[in-house]
């Protein structure tokens, strides 16, 4: 049974096409995250689900019911906005009970549901405060409380954490995930932060320029990115890319355009003499022996748990993550090897993944 189904949905603002036919199936109770660079249409898609934007083409179903022409309040959804959008002249509890009040619920029922939501979110001591008397994190919690009280089929979040400081963001991330595990309500969550996507989602939908690039679980997308865009978008620091060709499939070596040669353990089918892009994650690079690739250390950034090193191979900059403590100096020459079982191959022309 599908919680939310988006079928070939399109959106144009006047003559400008913003969403070009998106298909996504989100199962009941799933935590789905829409992620992509700024302007790719994440918010627009979410607002179409909420009913705040007209749907130009295609169908959106919630719980099996087509909602294209339903009013937002009839769609069985609740939304949490980036700027909280709390009603400033109402107290926290009035904010949370507003929907029930409009639906004609009785006072005791409203108080009971608001009380329950407040208990879940630890808001009891703050219920009589106005939004101006709350901190950013507390406001965000009230906004979530307002959504929980309605007990919707689907929660919609639009970058709810981007106004919070880094530490609070990590805390709220865990809280939202815990909330989902407790309520088991379908969530569609928009963010441009790939770490949020990786840490919270059951399913990630990568959007780019109004199109879906790939849908899958965080680790699926991380381990098997379908194309160069997804490969470069997920992961921090980002994946490194090298361009070159393989001349001999039996004894695969990537001959880089600039001259260096990287020994590989495998090659994708039909890849001989075809322009390839090789992707390697920063943590899959290691010190190599005599057969390693020549590299020059440029910048060293220790983070404590690991060290990010910018190195240059034939004038091309790569990021290398070292977990151990190492003594490195700028302009030092090192030999590096790639974890060959973990390299990714992409066709340079189509940008698509080539499986070895």
């Amino acid at each position: 049974m599908s919680g939310l189904s988006i079928g070939n949905v399109k959106k144009s603002f006047g003559a400008v096409d913003v969403i070009h036919g998106v298909d996504v199936e989100i199962a009941d109770g799933e935590f789905a995250i829409l992620v992509g660079p700024s302007g790719c249409g994440k918010s627009t898609l979410l607002r179409m689900i909420a009913g705040l934007e007209d749907i130009t083409g295609g169908q959106i179903r919630i719980n099996g019911r087509v909602v294209n022409d339903l009013q937002p309040k009839d769609r069985d959804i609740a939304m949490v906005f980036q700027n909280y959008a709390l009603y400033s002249q109402m107290t926290a509890s009035q904010n949370m009970g507003f929907a029930l009040e409009l639906a004609g619920a009785k006072r005791p029922e409203i108080d009971k549901k608001v009380g329950e939501a407040a208990a879940i979110l630890g808001l009891q001591p703050l219920l009589d405060r106005k939004p101006a008397q709350l901190s950013g994190g507390q406001r965000q919690r009230v906004a979530m409380g307002r959504a929980i009280v309605r007990d919707p089929k689907v929660f919609l979040f639009d970058e709810p954490l981007s106004n919070l400081d880094a530490k609070l963001r990590v805390k709220m991330r865990a809280e939202i995930k815990a909330l989902h595990q407790r309520l088991k309500t379908t969530i569609v969550y928009v963010t441009h932060d790939q770490i949020e996507a990786m840490t919270m989602a059951d399913k990630i939908v990568v959007l780019h320029g109004g199109r879906v690039e790939q849908i899958g679980s965080p680790l699926e997308l991380y381990d098997k990115p379908r194309n160069i865009f997804v490969a470069g978008f997920l992961g921090s620091p980002a994946m490194n890319f090298l361009e070159g060709t393989i001349e001999d499939a039996a004894n695969p070596v990537l001959a880089m355009t600039s001259g260096s040669r990287v020994k590989l353990s495998r090659a994708p089918a039909n890849s001989v003499n075809r322009p390839l892009t090789l992707g390697i994650r920063p943590e899959d690079i290691a010190f190599g022996g005599e057969s390693g690739v020549d590299a020059v250390v440029k910048v060293i950034e220790p983070t404590g748990s690991e060290t990010h090193v910018a190195v240059e191979i034939d004038g091309k900059e790569l990021t290398w993550v070292v977990r151990e403590r190492v003594e490195l100096a700028p302009e030092q020459r090192v030999k590096l090897s790639f974890e060959t079982s973990k390299v990714h191959f992409f066709d340079q022309q189509t940008q698509q993944r080539l499986d070895a």
């Binding site: 909420a50 705040l52 937002p72 959804i77 709390l86 009603y87 002249q89 409009l102 101006a132 307002r146």
Partner: protein, 294 residues
Amino acid sequence: MTAMPTNHAAVHLEVQLSSIKRDPVLIGLWIALVAVALVWVAPFVFIVFTSLKTPAAVTSTGAFVPPTELAFENYSAAWSRGNFANSFLNSVIITVIKVPLGLFLSAMAAYALAKIRLKITKALLLLVVFGTMIPFQVMLAPLFTLVNSFGLIDTYPGVILPYIAFGVPYQVFILHGFFRGIPKELSEAALIDGANHFTIFRRIFLPVCLPVLAALLILDFVSTWNEFAMALVLLQDQRMWTLPLGLMSFQGQFSSNYGQLNAAIVMTVLPATIVYLIFQRYFVSGLTSGAVKG
């Protein structure tokens, strides 16, 4: 090393000096402010003093000399002889209906123009802005013809409707700007919570824009209460006259009795002053508290 203490002392001295020395610009501003205030208050003092003087005292004492014996009978005499009971009632009826009704209509129109997207929204807004540019004096003659053809000369609706028509555009213009500044997520959140536009308007927008409404209410009350030209054209019957019109006839009738004339003026101005004093604290506190934040 020895230079250090003297240095310190010099710095210290300078700090003290600058706190003693007042900013000359500030002093200039204060002087200007006092001068302007005096200019504005002078006529008011003159009116109040004169209204309390006997006819003999008016001619024998200077304009700004306080009255020695208070002639309160000027007020009662002016009230009855100027037919104030009648014109006061007319002014109250017209103002009390026109001001809230006009403001409510303006607020609703401004909400619609700011928050409901339609193809003709821009054209409508342009029309409203155009309305603020027409001086009503230009319209007096056509207005008379129009109201006359409706048979509304010498009626309350005959004044209230034109008043509303001329008041709405600038109020819509101001409120529209204010509503536009309210984040759209606020109305969207309410929309999802199940509110219709009227509920959003009443429960979300009106409370937020209370300070602006208070300001507009004061301005509108004062200008409606004191309106003269349009009332003069549209109200021919003495029994329908408003206070400013009553005042005009007063001057001809009692030109020798300045005490009574000024008592009449004080009574005319007083209600507007009271309304201002009641609402000005909402107005000022709203302006300083940043109503939209949070």
